[in-house]
């Protein structure tokens, strides 16, 4: 398998941005508070199906909380619409039709087998047993876990468990663009943080493919180099605010990233590497007083 640096897509026209409706995620002045602490403040942006959006920012900047508001897990102020529909009004089963969610940590209470876990993705879908089994097998094949059907989830390594969970989510939102509905969405919270480098790239490629087949992908990312290699759009959070949002190449600039992370970063493009790398500014070049 080879990976290619995905050139950024051309900027959409104004017309595409407005009234995206069916194919867009619209977040307007979204805010989330836990008790008195304000975690996310007045965040507004739009994302479109067919694009891979990465949410980056330092730890504690509100990335995961923003994602939880979008997926209906946390209550929020403001307005969040998925395919033109207010997510705070949608029922869990209607939401499950439209989007899959991969949480950061996934623990399972009882010793379910891998195929039982993946099958939970289509828990509300009626269908013949053979069809279900095929969809489960397809999803496991996608994440490189064919033949793991009968294994017990708890016996797997952390990375394998993460891939089983991703297979469950893929099983739920199998076709990025269903015949009779709006494009589906994948919401992933740090999907590759517990994976080795091979599976990091494979899983990111999987998400990128989902986007290129017309689905929406929104991913919370810690790894800036993977973001550089796979994302179409990037949203930067800092202290609960939206610091910047736009095309990858417009966002992944040294000044902006250094500001976001309070850490001097630069972009390096070695001749033999596909995607540019985000690396720290070398110590000897740093001005200690700038820290």
């Amino acid at each position: 398998m080879s990976f290619h640096f995905r050139p950024a897509r051309p900027e959409q026209t104004e017309k595409d941005h407005r009234g995206g409706g069916e194919t867009s995620l619209e977040v307007a002045r979204a805010g989330v508070s836990i008790g008195k602490a304000v975690i996310v403040k007045e965040v507004s942006f739009q994302a479109r199906a067919g694009e891979f959006l990465a949410i980056i920012g330092p730890s504690g900047s509100g990335k995961t909380t923003l994602l939880k508001a979008i997926t209906g897990e946390m209550s929020f102020t403001g307005d969040i619409r998925l395919a033109g529909r207010d997510v705070s009004l949608l029922t869990p089963d209607a939401m499950a039709e439209m989007r899959g969610v991969l949480p950061q940590i996934s623990q399972i209470a009882f010793p379910l087998s891998v195929s039982e876990v993946v099958g939970l993705g289509i828990i509300n879908v009626l269908g013949r047993r053979a069809d279900r089994a095929r969809r489960i097998a397809d999803a496991l094949f996608k994440v490189g876990l064919s033949g793991f059907e009968g294994r017990i989830y708890q016996d797997l390594s952390g990375g394998e468990q993460q891939r089983v969970q991703l297979a469950r989510v893929l099983c739920q939102v199998w076709e990025p663009v269903p015949e009779d509905g709006p494009p589906r969405w994948l919401f992933l919270d740090e999907p590759v943080s517990s994976l080795d480098i091979k599976h990091q790239y494979q899983i990111m490629q999987l998400a990128a493919d989902y986007a290129s087949r017309g689905g929406g992908v929104v991913t919370v990312m810690h790894d800036l180099n993977l973001t550089m290699a796979f994302a179409d759009k990037v949203l930067v959070m800092k202290q609960g605010h939206l610091l910047a949002h736009g095309n990858r190449d417009a966002i992944m600039r040294p000044e902006l990233l250094s500001e976001a992370y309070d850490f001097p970063l630069r972009i390096s493009q070695p001749a033999d590497v596909d995607a540019p790398l985000v690396v720290p500014v070398r110590q000897d070049r740093q001005n200690p007083s700038a820290q």
Partner: protein, 377 residues
């Protein structure tokens, strides 16, 4: 390391029973076979219990009459049947066996549902204080019913005590859920400790009632502590059966939701489960069935923990199979324990709660030790 050792032990146990390795094969096929087998075993256990006792009764000869409704509606002893045998079976043993089956099924299914709800194999109505709450509700009505709650008693009749037990169980379950669950995550340590505290508190309140009780009430109250099916009659069956049957026939509709809940509350909602409704229904049904069981048979412990756990080892944790299988195995175990309780020290009786505790408590400890690494206690 103890985890591995225990697993090897379980493996050996399964091989000994001739059960195929349930972890890797097709568990659904195995689960169906086990349910059919358990249904047959339940029928046999019921017959065996009917035949057992100080008077030996030819149960197989009575069987055609017992299974035909007309024998009961006529009220007369069927032809060719000894009146003594008929009365012993229909008035003494049959209500007891039926009650045992209902209570056993209710306790085991309540255990399975609670474990699914709390996402923990150690949750059980007896251990976490739900039964104690039900006991307090029942005790309130036994002791003060005719004085303080006379109008209520007049309206509800034989259903007053089961309903009071239901209310007591419900209050404790709701409190427990509130205390044990934060942000969709149930802490098992908090849960067990809070359950123990709630159980002790409600037990103490029941203790106060013991002071004001008269002799007859005292006898009734003592019976809660240990649990017994002695004194079963058709009136008790008809007071408990409606709530328990509603529960047994409703829980299959919760099975898929409980399967989804193994992922945690947030992820269950993401795959389309209406989590809040599922939780409300589960709590209501568990409190109802536990309350009705406690009202007629007192605090019989450990059935709710042993039965689902044994079945999970065999057929896996899929609630679509686990719940019906638990109902059957619960019925079998309670009828068997009750038959034992009225025969080992005959003509006296040993409270059935003692027998289930003797079998169940070591089992509970075994799960704790085996699961220590997973539960983080």
């Amino acid at each position: 390391m103890s985890e591995t050792a225990a697993r090897t032990g379980v493996q050996g146990f399964k091989n000994l029973l001739g059960l195929r390795e349930a972890r890797t094969g097709n568990r659904e096929t195995l689960a169906r076979a086990v349910i059919v087998l358990l249904a047959a075993v339940t029928a046999l256990t019921m017959l065996g219990s009917l035949a057992t006792g100080p008077i030996s009764v030819p149960v197989f000869d009575l069987l055609p009459h017992l299974t035909s409704l007309s024998s009961y509606s006529s009220g007369a002893v069927p032809e060719g049947v000894s009146p003594r045998d008929w009365i012993v079976v229909t008035e003494i043993r049959l209500p007891r066996v039926v009650l045992g089956a209902l209570v056993g099924a209710a306790l085991a299914v309540s255990g399975a549902v609670m474990q699914g709800l709390f996402r923990n194999p150690l949750a059980d109505p007896g251990i976490v204080g739900v039964s104690a709450g039900a006991g307090l509700g029942a005790a309130l009505f036994i002791v003060l019913g005719n004085a303080a709650f006379a109008p209520v008693m007049a309206v509800l009749g034989i259903y007053a005590v089961p309903l009071a037990a239901f209310a007591g169980g419900l209050v404790n379950t709701l409190l427990l859920y509130r205390i044990g669950t934060r942000g969709g995550i149930t802490s098992v340590a908090t849960l067990l400790l809070a359950g123990i505290a709630l159980g002790a508190l409600t037990g103490a309140m029941t203790g106060i009632l013991v002071y004001v009780a008269d002799d007859q009430q005292l006898r009734d109250l003592q019976f809660w502590g240990l649990g017994s099916l002695a004194g079963s009659n058709w009136e008790k069956v008809s007071s408990a059966a409606p709530i328990i049957l509603v529960m047994l026939f409703s829980v299959p509709f919760l099975a898929r939701g409980l399967n989804g809940l193994t992922l945690g509350e947030a992820a269950a909602a993401h795959i389309g489960i209406r989590v809040q409704r599922l939780k409300n229904l589960s709590i209501l049904l568990v409190a109802g069935a536990t309350g009705a069981s406690v009202a007629v048979s007192g605090g019989i412990g450990f059935v709710g923990i042993v039965v689902p756990h044994l079945l999970r080892l065999t057929i896996g944790p899929d609630h679509r199979y686990l719940l019906p299988a638990s109902a059957l195995l619960g019925a079998v175990m309670l009828i068997a324990a009750d038959t034992l309780s009225r025969t080992i020290v005959a003509p006296a009786e040993m409270p059935i709660g003692i027998i289930t505790a003797f079998a169940g408590a070591p089992f509970f400890l075994w799960i704790l030790l085996r699961k220590r690494g997973l539960t983080g206690i």
